[in-house]
């Protein structure tokens, strides 16, 4: 009887194998058709494509050697960039935590709050930082405030979603024990939820700070402060050697940020 069952399973499995292969071919075919359509239909002047390597290398040549003058203002702009990322990350925490609390299934007060929380997270995550920046520049004018708000509005979704998942994954048993002592809702959170999500919280915030440093380097391109403002200015004036210096400065900044985050991660967690 056991043999028969396994033989049956064998047959079924074979059929799936064939179906799987068919699906594979179909996927390949569809992919090729889509690529063909994209290549044929896209609005590209093909001679430019063949010329692109030349153009790129000539731009590279114009950038060399990097122009170290103006390094002072570049460093200042970098510091401003870091301020934007740091302040925005700090401020985000105050908004993202309550949102993650209402967006986690096991802590949300009621269904309306759950959906409100999820709506906030989804809309925050779906709009890119630079689009948020565009909006805030239109509202508050060019400057660092628009940048801080843009980074914040994007980070709320990121931190909130991951924190919500961390809250949903906690061990239920301490919660039950705290409820059994007659603790109020807030005390249960303070004792049974907070300690459990602490490590995740630090990891998520550090990760997002690292991402935010990268993101805040481009805010200036739409006028929202930071190094991007200088970069845009240098490009507009065709000051390519200065552009090269700024690019190198950005790489250094990002690498420093990565080094700091890896140290922090090891220290805190």
């Amino acid at each position: 009887m056991v043999d028969q069952a396994s033989a049956l399973a064998d047959r079924v499995w074979q059929r799936y194998e064939r179906k799987e292969r068919l699906i594979r071919y179909a996927v390949l075919l569809v992919t090729m058709m889509v690529v063909y359509w994209a290549v044929r239909d896209i609005d590209i002047f093909w001679p430019w494509v063949w010329d692109a390597p030349n153009q790129i290398s000539s731009l590279g040549a114009r950038m060399w050697p990097p122009d170290p003058r103006g390094l002072g203002s570049i460093v200042n702009a970098l510091i401003e960039t870091v301020h934007i990322a740091t302040l925005a990350t700090m401020l985000t925490i105050f908004i993202a935590l309550p949102v993650s609390y209402i967006a986690a299934q096991n802590t949300t007060p009621n269904r309306a709050c759950l959906w409100l929380g999820r709506f906030i997270l989804v809309s925050s995550r779906s709009v890119n930082t630079i689009i948020w920046a565009l909006l805030f520049v239109a509202i508050f004018g060019p400057g660092v405030l628009a940048g801080i708000l843009a980074i914040m509005f994007r980070s709320i979704g990121f931190i909130g979603k991951l924190m919500g998942e961390a809250i949903e994954e906690i061990d239920r048993r301490p919660v039950e024990a705290m409820e059994a002592t007659g603790a109020s809702k807030l005390k249960v959170i303070a004792y049974a939820v907070v300690p459990q999500v602490m490590p995740a919280f630090f990891a998520i915030v550090i990760l997002r700070w690292d991402i935010n440093i990268r993101e805040s380097t481009v805010l200036g391109l739409v006028g929202a402060g930071g190094i991007g403002v200088i970069l845009q200015g240098a490009i507009d004036t065709f000051a390519w050697p200065t552009v090269a210096t700024i690019l190198i400065a950005i790489i250094v900044l990002v690498l420093i940020g990565e080094a700091i985050t890896s140290v922090l991660r090891r220290k805190v967690i």
Partner: protein, 272 residues
């Protein structure tokens, strides 16, 4: 501060304080002080234009007032923009995923000699350090406005992301298979093809789906600096104070991203 005496030998009332997270008080208060100093420094040096910011509320009212209801009247423009974004994302994913393989091999410590490893690694580090929008600006400057700059940008972006994860994957492969191939006397490239690639292929397929999704997101953004796609349309709408059209674009972007995230997640779950 903390109790260390043996039970029963203790006279008088006992106290207990939570042992602090950071044991050294100097470091503990020092950290707080540093945070405070940092905040003061940051707020003091950042150039806030308060007059202009104070102007924000009426402007926000005007923008949101002008933005609702979103206008889908210029549907044709919307469609062209999205079509171009899709095309950019698809072609860049294809190019990026293909190119990421050689770069990943170069950036994997265990399969290439040191100098090549450093080269591959730095290519990946550089392409990861730059936000796609910065890369886009440079490509726009080099090859002009339009989707070509977008494709190049997102190709670089894909190489950085997929290449890094793939290189890590190669560094963790089961070395036994490689040794088995070496024992048969296979050459370097046959070893790569027969012993290394099969081990990273499933991961590569999943990563490609993920990358297609994030390229689609990014393609909406690189257009803002002129690299083609819906981002350019959005930027124009904002520039011309067409807030109702801009909000329509935003809504569609959100919808497309949600759908694409759903599909990509579903496919990855199916594959893994």
């Amino acid at each position: 501060m903390t109790r260390s005496d043996i039970p029963g030998t203790h006279p008088g009332p006992r106290t207990w304080r939570k042992p602090p997270f950071i044991a050294s008080p100097l470091l503990r208060y020092g950290l707080w002080l540093m945070v405070v100093i940092y905040l003061i420094w940051a707020f003091a040096t950042l150039p806030f234009n308060w007059d202009r910011i104070a102007d924000g509320l009426p402007r926000a009212a005007r923008i949101f007032g002008g933005g609702f209801p979103p206008s889908f009247e210029r549907g044709g423009l919307l469609l062209t923009g999205f079509k171009e974004s899709f095309q950019i994302a698809i072609l860049a994913t294809l190019l990026g995923v293909m190119l990421s393989i050689p770069f990943a091999v170069m950036a994997a410590k265990n399969v290439v000699p040191k100098p090549i490893y450093y080269f591959g690694r730095s290519v990946i580090i550089v392409s990861r350090s730059f936000h796609p929008v910065i890369v886009a600006i440079l490509f726009v400057a080099a090859v002009g406005f339009g989707p070509l700059a977008g494709i190049l940008t997102l190709t670089v972006y894909s190489i950085g992301f997929v290449g890094k994860l793939l290189a890590e994957e190669i560094e963790e492969i089961d070395w036994g298979q490689v040794e088995a191939m070496k024992a048969t006397g296979a050459g370097y490239f046959s070893i790569l093809v027969y012993a290394v690639f099969p081990q990273i292929l499933p991961r590569q397929v999943g990563l490609s789906m993920y990358q297609l999704d994030s390229n689609l997101r990014a393609s909406a953004v690189v257009g803002i600096v002129g690299a083609g796609g819906i981002g350019g349309t959005l930027m124009n709408a904002f520039g011309r104070y067409d807030y109702d059209f801009a909000f329509a674009i935003l809504l569609i972007i959100i919808a497309v991203i949600l759908v694409s995230e759903g599909i990509s997640g579903w496919v990855r779950k199916k594959i893994w």
